[in-house]
Symmetry: C3
Subunit: 159 residues, 3 copies
């Protein structure tokens, strides 16, 4: 039996453009029959947040972080030329014009292609994010699970 | 026949220092007989822009992006301590003093070593960059070509 | 004899959160019996600086860089939500509350696990950092040594 190729991406960044790059590579790899995992840690967890405000019990600091971080992929900023939020709008307008797929749909597509979307439980704990606040159908794991995937991987990226 | 080692770098960043790191690793790998590809996407495309203003027909948004993004490696900013453009000057002065090779020459050297410099066609389209505006002698490809290189690679980096 | 798995990380970033991610993955990999190298280059060198001011002879520019860059892991800023230094304090408070290990201790732990901590001599030269200013017990090397490790690696990351 032939071994399947494997792509494992750590998505650390909470920038719209970097998350887009991660999801484009991931969806491409899945289309070429790789087993793909995206391990979301730190600010990359924001891509997995539900858009609506989910009322959960939190400490003060955790509430602060929750308020300051964007809720969901569509609200994330750019790594360059963000211009206080104008940049993402420009990019999205231009993406629409060129029929490029916006990040929230890239995430949906990743799920349909059975890409394993993992939320890092250690940083969820730190940033005070709870499972109810994240998208349905994702996995929860720590660095050990990440390494188990990565060490047999062909393409490993930290984004 | 022995298989050649292969290094594949995604250059996403448009920062002078990060691009320098990418090109130093790439040139080093080529010197050690790796086959090397640098896949330039998003802001990393700016490293491949010609310095002169090339008049091409563009829509309004594409013109805006074109104006706001640096034309060529020598005009890129730093990821840290940019100080409104003073940082790159400091780094370049200090590089000259230490006989370190500036980014534009690192790119020339990469070409001489037959490193494959690829511009991501999807993000060129998004940012409104046209082939006339980019350096001569580079390749044009999409995520599928990147993955074909990366999945047989020994060193894969996202910078 | 079974081949040991190998993880090689380039730490380019001088951000507290990114360095934390690098050291968490590195310590995890070492715990799972990988041979691990962290190659510190550019701003990532700051994680290896001693906290105290070490008087060494330097040129003017090198002194400037030395003053402007943080001395040691504990003084590094965040890649997101730094809020002029308030962010790192928030993160450290919340880490204490959740019993997460602060970066300086993660570095100590890495040494105890025999993770090879390497300072990039080329960028030390550029930024004017001298061996006396960096932690004891680390290695000094260039891109050739990095590549020798990376090309036989299973997990290669650029952070």
């Amino acid at each position: 039996m032939e071994e399947k190729k494997r792509t494992t991406i750590v998505l650390f960044s909470g920038d719209y453009d970097k998350a887009m790059a991660a999801y484009i590579i991931a969806n491409g790899a899945a289309a070429y029959d790789h087993e793909v995992t995206i391990f979301h840690t730190f600010w990359g967890l924001n891509a997995l947040r539900k858009e609506e405000n989910i009322p959960v019990k939190k400490g003060f600091m955790e509430k602060m972080f929750g308020k300051m971080m964007p809720r969901g992929a569509d609200r994330m900023g750019l790594s360059k030329m963000n211009f206080a939020g104008l940049g993402p709008k420009m990019i999205k307008d231009i993406m629409k014009k060129h029929n490029a797929i916006p990040l929230p749909q890239l995430i949906d597509m990743a799920k349909e292609q059975d890409i394993k979307l993992v939320a890092c439980t250690m940083t969820m704990d730190l940033l005070g994010l709870q499972q109810e606040e994240l998208l349905d159908g994702i996995d929860y794991a720590g660095v050990a699970a990440y390494l188990a995937d990565a060490e047999i991987g062909h393409v490993n990226l930290f984004i």
